[in-house]
């Protein structure tokens, strides 16, 4: 094999020498950086690109596996990035709404993130990532983008538990925004009901329910939800007013704790006097 190549080189030795010397000359030229050389390089790049484009239909079998691996990895990375971007966009939308909400309250607020929730029990709660160190205290109201969420029931240094509307221990004095009809809002385990509404009073489905001035726990005029259904109960003096909460607890992620505490002077005054027990 080598002998054949050697013999061939001997026969065409002039061409071999010419080729070697031309290659050496071209290498020497390529080592420089003249304007002409830059132009030639540019032309060569374009020409090479054109040829490469024409030949691109021929698959490069040996590189395909490696290329596939790279593309798969890139695909996973891009999918992950796209997911993060979607998440960021949704979070951005939510936070924009919350900023609008924050500005609508007269009280200072603390932003918190819901880190756990249970919604299937009779006494449902959510846990926030803010606690005493952030200024959160028990009995502070919590609001979300749709309105009232609940009230802080217990707090430690960094976390707090919120008793939400969907809790049988929840009570709030509320009223209808349109007709100013008052009632007591409570959850019976299945529905949020505005109770103590006399049959004669003006209540319609679609009415907005807000916290009332009578509430000693919540500041007035916080949106709670809308009247979903009004039913007359046989043999009762009151209507059953079913309220749909403004907050979607399933999707709730960010909330504000209102730095509002009931007026202790008012509470003291309204506290019933101790009665003497008869023996």
């Amino acid at each position: 094999m080598f002998k054949r190549i050697y013999n061939l080189a001997l026969v065409f030795k002039e061409y071999a020498v010419l080729s070697v010397l031309l290659v050496v000359s071209l290498i020497l030229m390529a080592l420089g950086d003249n304007a002409q050389l830059r132009h030639v390089r540019g032309v060569a790049t374009v020409a090479f690109g054109v040829v490469q484009e024409q030949l691109s239909f021929i698959p490069r079998y040996f590189g395909l596996r490696g290329e596939n691996d790279i593309l798969r990895r890139m695909n996973v990375d891009l999918a992950d990035e796209a997911s993060q971007l979607r998440e960021a966009r949704q979070e951005n939308d939510r936070l924009k709404k919350l900023i609008g909400l924050r500005e609508s309250y007269r009280y200072p607020v603390i932003a918190g993130k819901v880190i756990s929730k249970n919604l299937t029990l009779l006494r449902n709660t959510i846990t926030l990532n803010v606690g005493k160190f952030n200024g959160v205290l028990p009995h502070m109201p919590v609001v979300g983008d749709g309105g009232l969420v609940g009230i802080v029931s217990s707090v430690n240094d960094h976390y707090s538990v919120v008793r939400i509307l969907l809790n049988t221990d929840f009570r709030a004095s509320a009223k209808l925004e349109r007709s100013r009809v008052d009632g007591i809002l409570a959850w019976d385990g299945n529905n949020l009901i505005l109770g103590n509404v006399a049959k004669t009073l003006d209540v319609m489905a679609g009415d907005t329910v807000i916290t009332s001035d009578y509430s000693s726990t919540y500041p007035p005029n916080i949106r709670v939800g809308v009247v979903q259904e009004v039913s007359e109960q046989q043999g009762s003096l009151f209507k059953a007013v079913y309220v749909s909460p403004g907050v979607n607890f399933v999707r709730l992620e960010e909330v504000f704790v209102l730095l509002y505490l009931p007026d202790s002077e008012r509470l003291d005054l309204e506290q019933p006097a101790p009665q003497k027990t008869r023996r």
Binding site: E14, V17, L21, V24, S25, L28, M29, N34, V43
Partner: protein, 165 residues
């Protein structure tokens, strides 16, 4: 060995000539190429292989002196030596050198040399590279051929002298 030493000395002398005296012969910016004359002479006298290598070495030397576009003269003079080497005929060396055939070979080699040279040298500098390249190549080649007439007459005289003996 003596032959190579003489060749080297001749090349150095021609290089010196080209860098000192030849610029004074400029006509319209065009110059003859005495080093190419030497390469063609080697091709006719010693053959294609030696002319190709001589062309490369002479070109390399010229590049080193001019420092303009390193490798370009080496490339073009290698090609010129190779082209001129095609006309090597061991039996008619003196006749070829002492006749118009020498000038024809010189013109052809010079033209190929200059086409390649200007073809690369004018890239990115001139807009109409082709016409400029042809014009420059023709002018430089013709001038080199004109200068080549003088050694040809010398070879003619030498050939006649050798024939008269």
């Amino acid at each position: 060995m003596e032959h190579y030493t003489r060749s080297a000395l001749a090349v150095l002398a021609l290089l010196l000539l080209q860098t000192t005296f030849v610029p004074f012969l400029s006509i319209g910016g065009f110059l003859p190429d005495p080093l190419l004359l030497w390469v063609v002479y080697v091709a006719i006298r010693r053959g294609q292989m030696e002319a190709t290598i001589t062309g490369f070495l002479v070109g390399l030397l010229q590049d080193a002196v001019s420092m303009q576009f390193f490798g370009l003269s080496a490339l073009t003079k290698t090609i010129a030596g190779f082209v001129a080497g095609y006309f090597f005929n061991d039996n008619n060396t003196e006749q070829t050198l002492g006749s118009y055939r020498f000038l024809t070979i010189l013109f052809l080699s010079s033209f190929v040399h200059n086409i390649v040279y200007y073809g690369i040298f004018l890239q990115g500098i001139q807009d109409s590279v082709f016409s400029t390249m042809i014009g420059f190549s023709l002018a430089t080649s013709l001038y080199t051929v004109v200068v080549g007439v003088f050694p040809m007459f010398t070879f003619v005289r030498k050939y006649r002298f050798s024939q008269s003996l």
